[in-house]
Symmetry: C2
Subunit: 210 residues, 2 copies
DNA sequence: ACCTGAACACCGTTCAAGT
DNA sequence: ACCTGAACACCGTTCAAGT
C-alpha cells in the first residue's frame, strides 16, 4: 500500500476544486473553512497559507474560476461566430457550477476573468465589429441573465440559494446542463438551449452596426 | 417627551426594511441576526417570532421583496409597451438594492414575486402576445443580466460581493440608479440607461411573432 | 402575544509553535 | 516552507423564562 505521507501537498488549485465541489453539492452557505479543510484532509488553518486573505480570497477565486473562459482565435471567423463561441462557453462554465453563481453574477471580473474579457473584446474588434466593448457588455448581460433563469428554473436553490438549506439533498454537483428537475417533468432542458440560441441570435442582430 | 415604551411593535415589514438597509450599506455578509436586532432595538431572538424559519426566511423575504413589482393594467397598450413597463420597473427595483442582488438573481421566485410574474404574463397575453410565458422568461433574463453588469461595473461589490469586505465603506444604500463610481469618471450611468433601452428594443424585436 | 437571557454548536481568523 | 493547536470574538438557533 502507498505511504500515508505526504497525502498530496495542497495547492490553490486543489483548494478551489474542493470548494466548488462543496458549494455545488451543498450550497455556498455550507462552504466553510473547517469543512473545506476536512475535505482536503487538513486543518482549516492550513488553507490560509495558500489563500492569505482567507475566505474573502476564496470567494474571489471561485468567482474568477467559473467566469474565466477561453476561445481560440480562429482568424477567419465573422464577429457573429466569435460572439457565439464566447457566449456558449461562458454559459456552460456558469451552468457547471450553480453553487457559486451568486458570486459570479455579483463580483466584478478580476484577474484571469478580466483577461478573458479583454481577449474576447480584441477578437471581436479584429473580426470587424465596431464597438466591441459595448458588444461584450451586452453579451455578458445576456449570458448571465439566461443562466440565472435557467438555474432558478432548475430548482437548484429551492431551499438554499447562495445561502443554504436545512436537510434536503441538493441535485448534486452540476455536470454541464444535466440533471434539471422541472416542475412536472415539463421542461426537458433542451428548451433552455433553444431559448438561449434564439436569444443569442436576437442579441447579435441587435448588435449589428446598421 | 414621548414615552420610552413601546418603542414600536416590530413587524415583518420593519425587519425587512432594516435588513435591506444593512445589506445595501455593508454587504450581505454583514447582515447578521444580532446586528439586525441591534438596528431594530431588540434582541436578535425576537426576530424569530416574526420570521419563524429564521435567517433562511429572512433571505427569502429579501429576495421576494426586491423582485416584486407592480404595473397597472392600462388596457389599451401594445404588448411592447406592457413589456417595457415591466422591464423598467424590475430593473429599478433590483438596482435600488444592490446588497441583495445575489439573492434576487439566484432564488426562484416565490410568493408575491411569483404572483407578479403571473400578472405580467397575463397582461402580455391580453395585449395579444402569443407565447407570453416565454416572453416573460426572456424579459426576466434580460433585466437580470443587465442589472448584474450594471452593479458589477458600479464597483459596488469591489471587496465584498454577496460576501463582505474588511473596512472600506460601501457606496452606501442605493438610491435608484444614483451614485455610480466609474473607473476614471468614465461612465456617467446615463450610458447604462441607454444600453438598457437599446437592448430592450432588440429583445422586443426578437420576441415579435413574425 | 411578544420579547429576553443563557446556553450550545459552530464560525473565521490570529498567533505561537511544531516539523 | 508548510501545517497544527489552542484561543478569541462572533455566528445562528434552542428553549425555558419573563411580562
Amino acid at each position: 500500500m502507498p505511504a500515508k505521507r505526504p497525502p498530496v501537498p495542497l495547492s490553490r488549485e486543489r483548494i478551489i476544486e474542493a470548494a466548488l465541489h462543496i458549494a455545488d453539492g451543498q450550497g455556498l452557505r455550507r462552504l466553510t473553512m473547517r469543512r473545506l479543510g476536512d475535505a482536503l484532509q487538513v486543518e482549516a488553518m492550513a488553507i490560509y497559507h495558500h489563500l492569505p486573505r482567507g475566505k474573502e480570497a476564496l470567494m474571489d477565486a471561485l468567482a474568477e474560476h467559473v467566469t474565466t473562459v477561453a476561445v481560440e482565435p480562429s482568424g477567419a471567423a465573422s464577429w457573429q461566430e466569435v460572439a457565439r463561441a464566447w457566449a456558449r462557453a461562458a454559459r456552460t462554465a456558469l451552468l457547471d457550477h450553480p453553487g457559486v453563481l451568486a458570486l459570479a453574477l455579483t463580483k466584478p471580473p478580476r484577474g484571469t476573468a478580466l483577461t478573458a474579457i479583454r481577449e474576447q473584446t480584441q477578437q471581436l474588434a479584429e473580426a470587424g465589429l465596431d464597438d466591441a466593448p459595448r458588444a461584450v457588455r451586452t453579451l455578458r448581460a445576456f449570458v448571465m441573465g439566461s443562466v440565472a433563469v435557467e438555474i432558478q428554473r432548475s430548482g437548484w436553490a429551492a431551499g438554499p440559494a447562495d445561502d443554504d438549506e436545512d436537510a434536503l439533498p441538493h441535485p448534486g454537483p452540476g455536470s454541464g446542463t444535466a440533471a434539471l428537475a422541472g416542475r412536472e417533468g415539463a421542461e426537458p432542458a433542451e428548451e433552455a438551449v433553444d431559448a438561449f440560441e434564439r436569444g443569442l441570435e436576437a442579441v447579435l442582430r441587435g448588435l449589428a452596426p446598421a
